[in-house]
C-alpha cells in the first residue's frame, strides 16, 4: 500500500473545504444520491446580482466517500465567477482531471456526483423559466 491515503490536497477538500456549508440566498440547488453507495450531495449556487448569468457563490453539503465529497468542493471552487453556460458545459473528463487521481469506473460515479447535481440544478432552473410567466 502506498504510504498516503489519497493526495493530501484531495483530503483537504474532503475534510476542511471552505465551500462546505449553506448560502443565505440560493438561486439554484439540487440533491443527488448515489444509490450504490449512499453518497449524498446537496449542491447550491447563488448568482451574481449584477450579472444573473454568472455564478457568484457555490456551496455543498453531503456525506460520503473522499472522492464524492472532495469532488464537490473542487467543483464549487472552480465554478465561482464562471457563467452558468460554462458550468453547464463542463465535461465529466474535466471533473476527473481536477480530481487528479486515476478512478475505476465504479469510483468515477462518486467523482461525478457533484457535477451531475450541478447540471441538474441548472437544467431545473432553465425548465422553470421556460415554463413560467415571461419576465
Amino acid at each position: 500500500m502506498e504510504d498516503t491515503f489519497y493526495r493530501e490536497e484531495l483530503l483537504d477538500h474532503y475534510d476542511s473545504s471552505p465551500h462546505r456549508g449553506r448560502l443565505d440566498v440560493v438561486d439554484l440547488d439540487a440533491d443527488l444520491e448515489n444509490p450504490l453507495c449512499g453518497d449524498q450531495i446537496h449542491f447550491e449556487v447563488a448568482l451574481d446580482s449584477d450579472d444573473p448569468g454568472r455564478i457568484a457563490l457555490a456551496r455543498f453539503q453531503g456525506r460520503g466517500c473522499v472522492i464524492s465529497q472532495a469532488a464537490a468542493s473542487i467543483l464549487a471552487e472552480q465554478i465561482e465567477g464562471q457563467t452558468l453556460e460554462h458550468a453547464r458545459a463542463l465535461a465529466p473528463d474535466q471533473m476527473i482531471e481536477w480530481i487528479g487521481i486515476p478512478l475505476t469506473p465504479a469510483r468515477r460515479k462518486c467523482g461525478l456526483l457533484a457535477l451531475r447535481a450541478l447540471h441538474r440544478a441548472i437544467d431545473a432552473r432553465a425548465n422553470l423559466s421556460e415554463a413560467g410567466p415571461a419576465g
Partner: protein, 422 residues
C-alpha cells in the same frame, strides 16, 4: 499451514481447482478474493463443462432430432436433475430455469401473486431482505392493494422466528424470507418460520441466493413452497438461476411470459400450455449456463454442506478474533455462531468506498456500499458498509491479509488526522 485446521477435507488442495484465485491483479500484488457474496469463482470443472458445450455440442435443446441436439438436451436435463437432488426436490419438473434469483422471485410475484392475491391481503417480509426480495413485492402490492409487513431484526442483526410469527394473521398470504442475509450473514430460522406460516395457510418464498450456497437447504424436509437461487453464487456461471416450486403451486400458476416451447398446441386465437417445467421457460434457455450449474453442483456435492458451514464459521471466528479488538472497527450483525461466511464492517473515519480502494491496492477484493439492501442499512443508521465474504476456497490467511490491510488503512487515516491537528 494456516489452513490445516479447516473442517473441510483436503482444503489445502482446493485452491488449485479455481484458476481465478491464482493471479496478480497488478505486478507483485496477489489477489485475495473476499467478494463471494457478490459472485463466486468457478472451478475448472465448471469452466470445462461450459466450454465443452460451446465447442463440442452447441445445439439447441428440445428441438432438433439430430445427434448434437439430443446430446445437448440430455446434458441440460441432467443438470436440472442434479439441481433437484441437491435441494431435495421431489421431482426435476419442479425445477424451473430462470436468469437468476431476481428473475425467479419476480416469476412467483407476477404469476402466483397476481393470480391468487387480492386487495387487503398481506405479505410478510423481514428487515434482512435484498432488494430482489423486496421490490417485486412492492410492485405487486401497489398493483393489487396489498399490505407489506416487515419482521424486525434484533440489534445484533438476528432474526427471531417470533418476530415473523407476531405479524402473521389470516390475511397473510405470502411469507418471503431470505435464508441468509447478504449483508450480515445472518442465518434465519427457516424451519420455525415455515411452520408458523403454514399454520396460517401462507405460502413461503425463500430467497436462497446466499443460503443455497452456504447452508444445507432441503425443500422437502423444510416444506418450502418456493425457493429462488442463482448459479453464480455457488461456483456456477452467471445468467442462470432456479425457481423451485412445489408441483401443486406450479400447476396452478399461469405462465408469466409467452413464446416458443412453453406451448403444446397453438392456433391464431390461443394456445395450450406445455407441461412443467416448460410452461415457464419460453424461448431458448441459457443452455451452456444450465449445464455449467449442473457441473457446479457436481463439484459442490463432493463436500458435506455441514463441513462447508463449519469451515466458514471457522473463518469467521478467526476474522472476528482478528478485528474485534481493533480500535475504530465495528463488526455488524451477529456472532459467527449465527451466520455464514460474511463479515460486514463499519470503520470509523473511513468510508467503505475509500476502504475498498485502499484494500484493492493490497489485492484484497471486498464489496463496499449498500449491497442492494438499503432498508437494512437504514435500520442500523448506516450510509454504507464494507463487506468481506468467504467461500469454501478461502483460508484464515486471506483474513489475515484483510486484517493487515484494514490496519494500514486505519493508520493512514490516523496519520492524516494528526497532520491536520498539528
Amino acid at each position: 499451514m494456516a489452513t490445516v485446521d479447516s473442517p473441510l477435507p483436503r482444503h489445502d488442495d482446493l485452491k488449485a481447482d479455481f484458476p481465478g484465485l491464482h493471479q496478480e491483479i497488478r505486478p507483485g500484488v496477489r489477489l485475495t478474493y473476499l467478494d463471494n457474496a457478490a459472485t463466486t469463482l468457478k472451478p475448472w470443472s465448471v469452466i470445462r463443462a461450459v466450454q465443452a458445450y460451446d465447442s463440442d455440442y452447441p445445439a439447441n435443446v428440445h428441438r432438433g432430432i439430430h445427434a448434437l441436439s439430443e446430446r445437448a438436451t440430455e446434458a441440460y436435463e441432467a443438470a436440472r436433475e442434479a439441481v433437484a437432488r441437491f435441494i431435495g426436490a421431489a421431482e426435476a419438473e419442479e425445477v424451473i430455469w430462470t436468469r437468476g434469483t431476481t428473475d425467479a422471485i419476480n416469476l412467483v410475484a407476477q404469476s402466483w401473486g397476481r393470480t391468487f392475491l387480492k386487495e387487503g391481503d398481506e405479505i410478510v417480509l423481514t428487515d434482512l431482505e435484498h432488494h430482489s426480495n423486496l421490490i417485486p413485492w412492492q410492485m405487486l402490492a401497489k398493483e393489487k392493494g396489498l399490505t407489506l409487513r416487515f419482521a424486525e431484526v434484533t440489534d445484533d442483526g438476528r432474526l427471531e422466528s417470533e418476530a415473523v410469527g407476531r405479524l402473521l394473521s389470516d390475511r397473510t398470504k405470502i411469507v418471503a424470507i431470505t435464508a441468509m442475509s447478504n449483508v450480515l450473514g445472518t442465518v434465519t430460522p427457516l424451519e420455525a418460520i415455515i411452520g408458523q406460516a403454514h399454520d396460517r395457510g401462507a405460502v413461503v418464498v425463500v430467497d436462497g441466493a446466499q443460503g443455497v450456497a452456504h447452508r444445507a437447504i432441503d425443500v422437502g424436509k423444510l416444506g418450502i413452497d418456493f425457493l429462488a437461487f442463482s448459479g453464480h453464487k455457488m461456483c456456477g456461471p452467471t445468467g442462470v438461476g432456479v425457481l423451485y416450486g412445489r408441483r401443486e403451486h406450479l400447476e396452478a400458476m399461469p405462465p408469466a411470459w409467452g413464446g416458443g416451447s412453453m406451448v403444446t398446441r397453438v392456433t391464431r386465437e390461443g394456445a395450450e400450455w406445455n407441461d412443467l417445467p416448460y410452461k415457464f421457460e419460453p424461448g431458448t434457455p441459457p443452455i451452456a449456463q444450465a449445464i455449467g450449474l449442473g457441473a457446479a453442483i457436481e463439484y459442490l456435492s463432493h463436500f458435506d454442506p455441514a463441513a462447508v458451514m463449519a469451515h466458514e464459521r471457522h473463518l469467521m471466528e478467526h476474522a472476528h478474533r482478528l478485528l474485534e479488538g481493533t480500535p475504530g472497527v465495528r463488526i455488524l450483525g451477529p456472532g459467527p455462531e449465527h451466520k455464514g461466511g460474511i463479515l460486514s464492517m463499519d470503520i470509523e473515519g473511513v468510508h467503505p468506498h475509500d476502504l475498498a480502494t485502499l484494500l484493492d491496492r493490497e489485492g484484497v477484493a471486498i464489496r463496499a456500499g449498500q449491497h442492494c439492501a438499503m432498508p437494512l442499512h437504514q435500520r442500523f443508521g448506516l450510509m454504507a458498509s464494507a463487506r468481506a465474504s468467504a467461500y469454501l476456497y478461502n483460508s484464515t490467511e486471506d483474513f489475515d491479509r484483510l486484517a493487515d490491510a484494514i490496519g494500514k488503512a486505519i493508520r493512514l487515516v490516523r496519520d492524516r488526522q494528526s497532520r491536520r491537528g498539528r
